[in-house]
Every structure is written in structure tokens, then in C-alpha cells.
Symmetry: C2
Subunit: 534 residues, 2 copies
């Protein structure tokens, strides 16, 4: 998510999200921290979306709900279609979402906007050209220079060259594959490889890929048609995205090709291609369920071939490997991108990044969309094509790049980091609740309830000791009895000493119980004393 | 960990462990489930260890403590040295640990034992040849056929050929790299690549590798000597393992080469090589601490070059990438095995697995040490060299392979799976405590304390509502007040209805509180009602 400001007015490019890692206990989604916009809602002229991937549009419902609706939200055709569907689900169907066709210009306050068509692993990917009185900047979004894209529309290199000829002030370019030499393979190379892979299969074919990679799904469908196999789309997002793309004329299939998932069981294996979600090993995905005998309609069996037409996103390697190994355990076959060229990255490699730099000839370069390593490698590519290293900036989230007639430089750190979505709530990652979750999930929790007289602090009911998440407690009964003794001693000491402040009594209980528990278990579970006066 | 039985007597080969994944909340270590041995302790003739890696010896202290001491524990020289040090730490210094030199034979009950030298990423790796009246079996352990190992002692191919000539009944072979074509690069290829990498460094050099890879550490030391740099060993296991190997004559360094970690700061950067633990991105490792300004003696800075002379073990990719990216953020350089040939796997590739099969000519083959995928690929390699597919077994943990004069086949599943170590305790993975940890770590916990009269069930003190791990609860006060109303209503209903069983009152409280919490938070935290009668 990028905020562009000029003359007090604001343009927002993309509103992406991240998915939580295993350490983010119980967290549903990770959002950019957009609190900077909270008091600036009236200054926002527009939100522009480069393409429909979650890491570029996923936070939009939260931005609209927390910040309010901007005058307009622009994007390409499929982007608008996919985002409209998402906003409908969030009951935000009234958002001012609008297609801005590539090449057309739109004015939003002091910003003149133009979308420039590029290729990526989702159709209708658009760079955003933003022109103000000071000059122009280009946000590339995610791109590759695919010379033979599946839809026959390569990146608009001519327009990028014009932008360069007219003078570009700033390029913010995708760094995802800045560590890869050469050029990314064309998406259209994948189709023949899929066809060849399928041709060698005797039983069922299950293909998994990103549901938003419409051209990939299209190529799977085309290969199925050539081999006279019927197709079933399995997984909610697979069906949803194909329907959206199909309604927009971006994808198509011969009528009668599709069968319903529930019909799969009654169809001959050798006449079937199943296209499924789950290429990243997601625990609840259709593929993982099929592999674990946990899917309503499909159960994998030996004779099946599962084709991974995708590579693991960094961090997902273990989940993907677990899925693959489960399929081997069943006795089915697995084909991955290591076995055949059945995947092509949507991000350009080093030669494409250099081509972008040479076409647009920016004065300033701010590599974006990558970790520190790839931002640095992108910067080095910029140096290598002759851009003054002093004009190449290595930024980080929340560090604003400020440009005026005299030059460019980083301003003061405003905000960085992320917000967590937990159920219906949004909050800070350092929330005490998450520390508590980590503490309890490591060692468990002991709850101690003591009931004392409000007259003299005397114990008026047996203390209760309850624990949860304390592992392998074979001698639980004995420990609880010992703890009750310790609790009664502590309460009697407090009564004798005339201590009547509940928080002091609770502190003493906490320390006494914690000490004995550590002696016995060599662990420090959370100790939660509750003292009730009657 | 493999149990071999003949005539009622038992031989154990290796006692490895695994490290917990992020989902195993609070778990310290994962052990093989060795409960099968619990009533058979007296039948154990010996434990034999192939090599000193944790996944082959790490569970030994737990086995000795839970099952008891066997008559003898055999291993190679370094294996015995490393395991002795480990057992001393566990106060098991009296274990009957003994070197069995390669080629010597030992009798343990009905088992004749011989260790055969192979090469691996730790010195003194030994296959175990076990001969009974029925025939011989070979457990390869982890191996590669390195023709130019650093210590000049290649695998004893001649002895393997003799084993094949004499007739081998069963081969249990390492499957780790059964998916890699060709042959693993020699360890001695790494030294020149390290020297070349170091030669291009102007500042400090920090090399990270597995601490047990003594020959790798030796090659780093040799390169440092050639470049006239001093060496500091950083990280407890790095110092410990080098000391053990050095005392056994397996590693050596010129006197005066080493400096202490605390001297690093006062030494010129360009005269220094630091050898550190942390190649797998372990959170508490020396490298990660150095990168996070959290190490007592060393802080990384720009000008440093960090050399990863290791590749991530599957599952560790994200932790390693995080470490690398943190080093880029600091501005230091990173060299990995993708940039230069500074790592060589310790496991043989497909041609080596085939060579092992052809040398030993086993009647039966049981691929071991790999996931289902690699076990199957290993089986296919066995088919490819002409072994009857009916004699190649694809097993799993706990499924015994039974062999007699008439043939071989799987017996009844005995035990499979693992045990978890949590603090001082060992238990089952499906322990309720771990389910509770998962539940609380996802959504938190509400504790409700109600105090009622033992006479008539009337409420005699205000209910208490305490919560932990409930995220972003801005309206906590209001929710607690509402919950107290619900609790009092529930208690009054129970009193009116004459319900006096505490567990029924608690159930009602649980349901009433859970319902309101879900309405408000769209979450299902654990609800723990405690009713105290006074």
C-alpha cells in the first residue's frame, strides 16, 4: 500500500495484505498500518489498484471500513470484477469502483492518472503513471515482459518508452525476482508442457494452481479439451474467479465441458481433469482435503496424478512438501515444476528489471515489493544501467521519500509495520493478548481461586486449582493438593499480617504457586490468582 | 531408531530425535515412540550408533533414562566422543559407551556386529553390518561415496563388495537424496571455493555451518590460515564439537590461531574469520543474535561478509531467509551456496544409492530415512538395478519387516509416531494439554468465577470475569459488565430451578458466557467457569 501526496492531496496505490505466519497465534490477516490516513480521509482523491492479487487489494475492505470511501477506486477490468465480488461479500457493494481502461487519462485532484498494461500471473495488470505539476512517477505493480502472453497482449512497451522520452521523475519498481538472472519464461510455454504431462497420465489428473491465475487455468482447460477430458473446478476461489473472468470474456470453455464436483465420483478417471485450489499446501484447501480423505466430493487414490502448476511462495515450503508427501503416501503420482516446465513466474527477472529502467529512464528509483535483499539487488541493477547511485533509494515501510524541484530524500519515519486482524477486530501486533497467547501456548496456565472472608481474610472455602495446557501432568492430583496447601498457607499468612488489599494477596498467591510449579515442572506457566471476598 | 530382533533378543541401531515444528506449541523435542522397548529392556543386547548427528543419537539420554542401560553402546571414535559429552550433561556418564573400530567384529547375543566406514557430513560415519544365523543385514546410516574426503578415508567399498559377495539378506539404505540425479559433490571441493570467496572479502568474514561438520570447520580454518586471518569460534556447540574433535585428533589448528569471542571487537576486521552456529536461522543461535544486536561479543555491521556454508534443512527456509534478510538490512554482504560451491551435501545422490545396491547385492531392500516420496524413489532405484520389486519394501514407522527362511513381509503394526518432550516430562502428541494450548493460542480464554451459597445456591459475591489472550478488546469493560449480568441470570435460573450439582451450574455458565462472547467477538475462546460454594 503506497500513499502519494502532492499539495496536501492524497492518492493511494494498492491496498494489499499479508497472511499470518505460524508465530502469529490466532491472527487471521496482516494489514498494512494505515493509521496515517485516519485523519486524512477527506484528502484522499482516489485509490488505484494495479491488479487483483490479495497482496495488492486484500486490505481494501478494511481501508474502506476504517478510513471511509474515497471519491473513486480505479483498476483494470478483471481487477474491478474481482474486487467488486470481494466488496460485496464484505457488504461494501456501494464502493465507487470503476474500470479505467489502459491508456485513458483520469484526473483526481492534482493527480493525472493513466494505467499502462503490463503482463503478470493475473490478467489486466496495470502500472500506474501519476503526473503532477512536479513531474511524473510510475508505480510498476508486479510485472514481467512476456512477449507471448496467453491473451496476446504483451506489455505496452511503446507507452513505457514514451514515458521515458517525456521524462520520468520517479520509478517505483517490482523487486520480487531481482535475484534471478535472465528473463522469466513466457506463460504460453506452460500450455504445451501441461499437455505433454497430461498425455502421459492414464488415470485422473488433478491440477493445482493459484485460482487467480486465469491464463493458467485457461491453459489447463485447453489441454483437457485436446485430450477429450471433462473438467471439474474444485475449491471456492477457483470457481469464483473463473466465473468472474468468464463473465468478463477473459476466460472461456466449450459448453458442456464442466462437470460438478459431486459428479466426479461417477465419471471415468481417464476422462477427467480436476482443477483445484491448494497449490500452497493450505490446510483448509480442496487439495489438502482431498489428500486427507476430508473432501465431500473427491478422494485421491493410486492412479491419480497431481500436477503442481505453481511453486511454493517463500515460507510455504513445508506445507507444500507435507501435501506432496501425503499424496506419495496414498500412492498417487506427483508432478511439480521441478519435473516439467509447468510453471512460469509472473515477476520479471533481472533483464526485465533493467529493460524497465532503460525504457522509462527515471531520474529517481525507489525499488519496492521485496525483502531487503531484493531491494538492494534491484538498486544494484539500477546502478548497472547507469542511474546515479545517489538517486537510487533503499527505503522501508513507513519511510517517506520526499521529492521537490531541488532533489529527493527520505523524510521522517511516519509509521511502519502492520496491523493484525483477529475475528472482527483490528489491532497492534504488540497487543498484550498476543503475548499472553504465546505464554500460555508455551507452558499452559494455572488458575487459582481463593475465597476469603471480607471480615478478617480467613479462608471460607477450599481453594480451587485448575490448569489447562500443562503437558503430561501424570501426578496432577498430588500437585494440586500440594498447591492447595501452599495457597492456604499464603492466605493465612496474609490474614495474620493483616494484609487486606486483594492485589497484594493475589501477588503473594502468584509467587507461591509459581515457585512450587517451577520446582515440580521446570516450566513457568501463566499463574492467574483470583481472590473472592464474601 | 531401529529395533532389530532375532530369537527374542534385541539390537537397537540409532536413537535419533526430531525438532518440533511451530505447530507443536511449547514442545522442546520430538522423540521416537520407544514404548515397545519398555517391557523388553532385559532383551536388549546392544545399542549401535552410526554417527553423531542429533537425528541419530539425540534421543539416547531419554532411552537410557526410560528403558535402562543396555550392556553396551557402540559407535565410531567421534560418535563416542560426542555422545559421551552429551550423556555427561544428562548425568548419564556411567553409560557403557565404547568405540568399535571399523572392521572389528563384536558379538552381542545372537548378533555379530561390524561397523563399515562410509563418508558423510560428520567424521566417523559407520554403516552397521549385523549377522545372525539367518543371514546378514546392513543399515547404511547416512552416507555418500566421497572419493576425495577431507580426511583421506573414502568409504570402504572393498568391504561392501565382500558383503555383497558373501550374500546380503537385507539392505536398509539412506533415502535422503533419492530425488537428486547424479552424484553428490565431494566435501573437498568446498575448501577451494571457501578460499576463493574469502579472498574477495575486505572486512570481517563470518562463516556459519553445522557445528558437527568438523571437516567443513577444518576447511574454513585452513582457508583462514592461508589468508593470514585469525579465527574465533562462536556458539556453544561450535566450540564444544571442535574441542571434542581436536582432542581426538580429528581436527587441528595451528597454535595461536584462535582468539576468544570477547577479543573480536579489539581485532582488525580484515584479519578475522568468525565461525558461528546459526546456519538454520535458529532464533537463539549466535548468528541470529549477532544480526539482531543481541550477542554479547559480536555485532554485525556493513563491511562484514556472512558466508552460509550450509543449505536450509527442509522446513527451515523461512528462518534462514529471515536471517539473511536481516543481514542485508544491516548492509552486510551475504554469500550462500547459490552464489558459490561452498556447500556439499552429506547424502549420496541417485548414482550413489545405485552403487550401494550394486555393491551389496541385497536380497531384500527396505529404504529408510526419508519421507514417503524419497522412500518410493529409492524403491524405484532398486527396481532399476534389477532387484525384484516384490523384494523391495516400502515401510513406515512402527511397521515391522519380518524375515525368515521362507521370505519377507510386513508384520502387524506395533507402534508408530512420536513422543513429545515438554520440560522434564515426556508424553503423547494427542495429550489434551496440547489441544488446550492450540485452542487458547487461537482465541484466548475467559475465566468466570461465581460464588454461591451452599444453602440455596444464591449468589453471595459479585462474579469475576477474567480473560487472557483475547485480542484487541477495546470495549472490554462493557463486555465484562454484560457477561456479569448473563452470569447472574444463569445462576439465578439455576437456583430457582433447584439445580445444585456444580457441574450442571458450570455447564450452564459455560454456554451462556460462550454465546454472548461469540455474538460480540465472532470468536470461540475457551470458557472456564469456576463455581465456589460457601
Amino acid at each position: 500500500m503506497t500513499v502519494i501526496e502532492y499539495d496536501g492531496r492524497i492518492l493511494v496505490v494498492d491496498t494489499g495484505l499479508m497472511f499470518p505466519t505460524a508465530e502469529m497465534l490466532g491472527i487471521d490477516l496482516v494489514l498494512p498500518d494505515f493509521s496515517y490516513l485516519r485523519d486524512r480521509a477527506d484528502d484522499i482523491e482516489a485509490i488505484v489498484l494495479t491488479h487483483g492479487h490479495e497482496d495488492h487489494v486484500g486490505a481494501l475492505p478494511y481501508v474502506l471500513r476504517e478510513i471511509g470511501q474515497p471519491p473513486v477506486i480505479y483498476g483494470g477490468l478483471l481487477t474491478v470484477g474481482m474486487v467488486r465480488s470481494k466488496l460485496d461479500e464484505h457488504k461494501l457493494g456501494d464502493a465507487p469502483l470503476q474500470e479505467l481502461p489502459a491508456g485513458e487519462k483520469a484526473q483526481a485532484g492534482p493527480f493525472q492518472l493513466e494505467l499502462i498494461h503490463l503482463s503478470h500471473s493475473i490478467p489486466d495488470m496495470r502500472a500506474v503513471l501519476i503526473t503532477t505539476e512536479l513531474g511524473s512517477m510510475l508505480m510498476t505493480g508486479d510485472y514481467k515482459f512476456d512477449q507471448t502472453p496467453v491473451d496476446g497482449r504483451p506489455a505496452d512497451i511503446a507507452r513505457l518508452a514514451e514515458v521515458g522520452r517525456d521524462g520520468l521523475l520517479l520509478l517505483c519498481g517490482d523487486s520480487t525476482n531481482a535475484d534471478r538472472p535472465g528473463i522469466a519464461p513466457s506463460e504460453s510455454r506452460v500450455g504445451p508442457a501441461l499437455l505433454e504431462t497430461f498425455s502421459g497420465c492414464e488415470g485422473r489428473i488433478i491440477v493445482t494452481s493459484f485460482a487467480s491465475n486465469i491464463h493458467r487455468v485457461q491453459q489447463v482447460i485447453d489441454a483437457a479439451v485436446k485430450l477429450d477430458r471433462r473438467v471439474a473446478l474444485v475449491g471456492r476461489s477457483m470457481r469464483k474467479n473463473f466465473n468472474i473472468a468468464s463473465n468478463l470474456g477473459i476466460a472461456n470453455a466449450p459448453s458442456g465441458l464442466f462437470i460438478q464436483p459431486r459428479e466426479i465420483g461417477s465419471f471415468p478417471d481417464e476422462k477427467l481433469v480436476i482443477i483445484s485450489t491448494g497449490s500452497q499446501g493450505e490446510p483448509l484447501s480442496a487439495l489438502r482435503r482431498m489428500a486427507n480423505n476430508d473432501h465431500r466430493d473427491v478422494e485421491l487414490h493410486s492412479g491419480d496424478t497431481v500436477v503442481f502448476s505453481a511453486t511454493p511462495v517463500p515460507g510455504n515450503e513445508r506445507a507444500v512438501n507435507e501435501t506432496i508427501d501425503r499424496i506419495y503416501e496414498i500412492g498417487a503420482k506427483v508432478v511439480t515444476a521441478q519435473d516439467a516446465p509447468i510453471h512460469a513466474s509472473g515477476h520479471g527477472s533481472q533483464e526485465e528489471i533493467k529493460l524497465m529502467l532503460n525504457l522509462t529512464k527515471p531520474k529517481y528509483v525507489l525499488p519496492v515489493h521485496g525483502d531487503y535483499k531484493r531491494l538492494r539487488l534491484h538498486a544494484e541493477l539500477a546502478h548497472s544501467v547507469g542511474i546515479d547511485p545517489a538517486n537510487v533509494f533503499q527505503g522501508r515501510n513507513g519511510l517517506p521519500l520526499e521529492i521537490d524541484e531541488n532533489g529527493a530524500g527520505f523524510g521522517e519515519d511516519i509509521h511502519n509495520g502492520v496491523m493484525f486482524v483477529d475475528g472482527v477486530n483490528i489491532g497492534e501486533p504488540d497487543d498484550a493478548a498476543l503475548r499472553d497467547r504465546r505464554e500460555i501456548s508455551a507452558d499452559g496456565i494455572f488458575i487459582v481461586v481463593a475465597t476469603i472472608s471480607s471480615d478478617d481474610g480467613a479462608v471460607v472455602a477450599d481453594p480451587e486449582v485448575i490448569f489447562r495446557g500443562v503437558a503430561f501432568l501424570e501426578e496432577a492430583g498430588a500437585l494440586v493438593e500440594e498447591l492447595k496447601d501452599v495457597i492456604e498457607d499464603s492466605l493465612e499468612d496474609a490474614a495474620e499480617a493483616g494484609t487486606r488489599e486483594l492485589h497484594l494477596i493475589q501477588e503473594d498467591l502468584h509467587d507461591a504457586v509459581g515457585k512450587l510449579v517451577f520446582q515440580k515442572l521446570r516450566r513457568r506457566p501463566m499463574i492467574l490468582p483470583v481472590v473472592v471476598e464474601v
